[in-house]
């Protein structure tokens, strides 16, 4: 009778210290699972590296300082991309000036003022749906509302306003996240010393969440720079001859402009006699702009997060 328990203890000990076939099998399954899911993840990383690498290698022959700073000629197939680059900068700047304040204040409303009721739920739902509206439908909206109804015509302003509405959810979402990460005790401490709601937001909540807000704004820049479908309906031309190579090429209220994304689309699909490396070079520049901007956002976030005091 007494031998039985000691016997089981012995087997248990052996099971722990030596590798039974069961343990070996278990470890093998574990490894297979790890490799399987790892392969799934690798399948995402590899295309990114391959695509970026291939585009840059193919575009290299056309890339030079002159390519960046010369204006396109002959319908875009010769010369550089300066006026397209400037057009993209115009559109990004104007849409940022419109959507950043609206987006940040909207997020302030949602996190600081809104009560938990049906109306707030509808506002949140509207934000989610605004993010889900297809880009081409935003383009149709911009055409109907800004170009025709508001009488702005096809212009940089129409295109920028269209994009600012389109990218609003990006800023709202990231600002909301940043604001709600500020601990409630910060606000309560501030209220208790007699500050009003707005003073609390202005002096405590916004300064403490600036990193998240900044990240959202930077991401909005990258999103705006790459967008094609909405701007091609509302104010970006396939080609526009410009002489000067300064920064002030366009009148943002009246003029149409060129933009990098549209230039790539046009050269890749419509211009048959361009140098084969030209569209790759444009794609390289566009990719660099977008990836550098995103990397900046990631860097800013990491830096400010490392300095966070709570």
């Amino acid at each position: 009778m007494a031998a039985a328990p000691s016997n089981t203890t012995a087997t248990a000990n052996r099971a722990i210290f030596t590798e039974t076939p069961f343990v070996r099998k278990k470890r093998r399954t574990e490894l297979v699972a790890r490799c399987f899911f790892g392969a799934m993840a690798a399948a995402m990383v590899i295309p990114l590296v391959l695509i970026v690498g291939y585009v840059i290698v193919q575009g290299a022959p056309s890339l030079s300082w002159e390519f960046l700073t010369a204006n396109p000629r002959l319908g875009g197939i010769r010369g550089g991309i300066w006026s397209a680059l400037v057009g993209t900068i115009y559109i990004v700047t104007i849409s940022l000036c419109v959507s950043a304040p609206i987006g940040v204040l909207s997020a302030v409303y949602l996190t600081e003022y809104a009560r938990d009721n049906w109306f707030t739920r509808i506002v949140n739902l509207a934000v989610v749906n605004l993010a889900g509206v297809p880009s081409i439908v935003h383009g149709l909206f911009g055409l109907g509302a800004f170009v025709y109804a508001a009488g702005m015509g096809k212009s940089i302003l129409s295109a920028s306003l269209t994009l600012s509405i389109m990218t609003l959810p990006v800023i709202i979402a990231s600002t909301k996240e940043a604001l709600s990460a500020v601990p409630r005790s910060f606000r309560e401490a501030c209220w208790n010393v007699g500050a009003t709601r707005w003073q609390t937001i202005r002096r405590i909540v916004l300064p403490n969440s600036i990193s998240g807000i900044l990240t959202g704004v930077i991401l909005q820049v990258s999103r705006t720079a790459g967008e094609t479908a909405p701007v091609m309906l509302t104010g970006v031309a396939t080609f526009k001859a410009v002489e000067s190579t300064g920064l002030f090429l366009y009148n943002p209220i009246k003029d149409q402009c060129m933009a990098l994304s549209m230039h790539l689309y046009y050269i890749a699909t419509q211009a048959s006699n361009a140098a084969p490396s030209l569209p790759f070079a444009i794609a390289t520049v566009l990719l660099c702009v977008v990836l550098v901007v995103n990397a900046t956002a990631i860097g800013v976030r990491a830096y400010l997060r490392s300095r966070k005091k709570w």
Partner: protein
């Protein structure tokens, strides 16, 4: 003096709070505005429109002089087939990657993968379209021995790559929301990681993962430039995955520039916009309700 300054401050604060309220409601205003203005441009044609013919006829001859026909059946089929194929490719990879990021890796590797996912999401759709046109197309022709490289398969591959990042990030959130006690209980019972994923995590996080997939679907349906450049752009019901197709979004992008304002063709394109708005609205609403349902639980 002090009294007056105080009053000015209160007034200023009121003004700023009013502004905050207006901005807070702006999302609602914009969503209604989009619906209103897109519908407004297309509305005059509604009187002439036969809904059944519009939705189910596959005859799309908008530029015909004698008998223009506006049936978007083939375009809807194009959109649905490309999206479906994209999801067949993207769902296993997206959810698999989400499981890997959330369960199998820690520290540096996890951070790196999240950065890569973020960068993948940042690549503009026109660049994807360009890649489909110049890189994937020759590869598809050489591998599958088909005559045309810009086809449904090409577009679906691109859409899969584009919708994977959103699936991974939402899916990872869903897996993170599963309490650690579930994992500990399973491991204590001697489950392997494999069993843990299949028997515990996937059932527990299934609503969140479903929402992730739906958001991916929404992204794929609404995508314009990539499908415009890489699906071959021919109006027909596809019979194989290597047939060129045309989607609703690509049709608007390609044809709107050639129409004159106020013509039937122009108005029909806006009505397609309304249709797209409706489809993505329903998809996003469903995804949102699923996510909310989880949070309440």
């Amino acid at each position: 003096m002090k009294q007056r300054r105080r009053q000015a401050e209160i007034l200023g604060e009121r003004a700023i709070e009013a502004l905050i309220y207006v901005c807070g409601f702006s999302a609602i205003i914009f969503v209604f505005g989009i619906f209103f203005f897109v519908l407004r441009e297309g509305a005059p044609f509604l009187a002439k429109l036969k809904i059944g013919e519009f939705l189910f006829s596959i005859d799309w001859f908008p530029t015909s002089q004698t008998q223009a026909k506006y049936g978007v059946g083939a375009l809807i089929a194009g959109t649905l087939s490309v999206t479906a194929l994209a999801m067949v490719i993207a769902v296993p990879f997206g959810l698999g990657a989400a499981v890997f990021v959330s369960e199998f890796c820690t520290g540096k590797l996890k951070e790196t993968l999240k950065v890569v996912i973020e960068l993948l999401a940042a690549i503009p759709s026109v660049v994807w379209g360009f890649v489909g046109l110049t890189v994937l197309s020759p590869i598809i022709i050489a591998t599958f021995h088909v005559p045309i490289g810009v086809n449904m398969f090409n577009g679906a591959l691109l859409l899969a790559l584009m919708s994977v990042p959103i699936m991974v990030s939402i899916g990872e959130d869903a897996l993170k929301a599963v309490p650690d006690s579930y994992r500990e209980a399973a491991l204590a019972l001697g489950a392997t990681k494999w069993q843990l994923v299949y028997r515990v995590l996937l059932p527990a996080a299934k609503n969140g993962l479903l929402a992730a997939v739906l958001l991916g679907v929404g992204r794929a349906i609404g995508e314009t430039m990539a499908v415009l450049m890489a699906t071959g752009h021919s109006v027909r019901i596809p019979h194989s995955i290597f047939d060129p197709v045309r989607t609703l979004t690509a049709t608007i992008a390609a044809e709107l520039g050639e129409t004159s304002k106020g013509s039937d063709h122009y108005q029909v394109l806006f009505l397609i916009g309304v249709l797209l708005f409706g489809i993505t609205f329903v998809v996003n609403l469903t995804a949102d309700m699923i996510v909310k349902g989880i949070k309440r639980k």
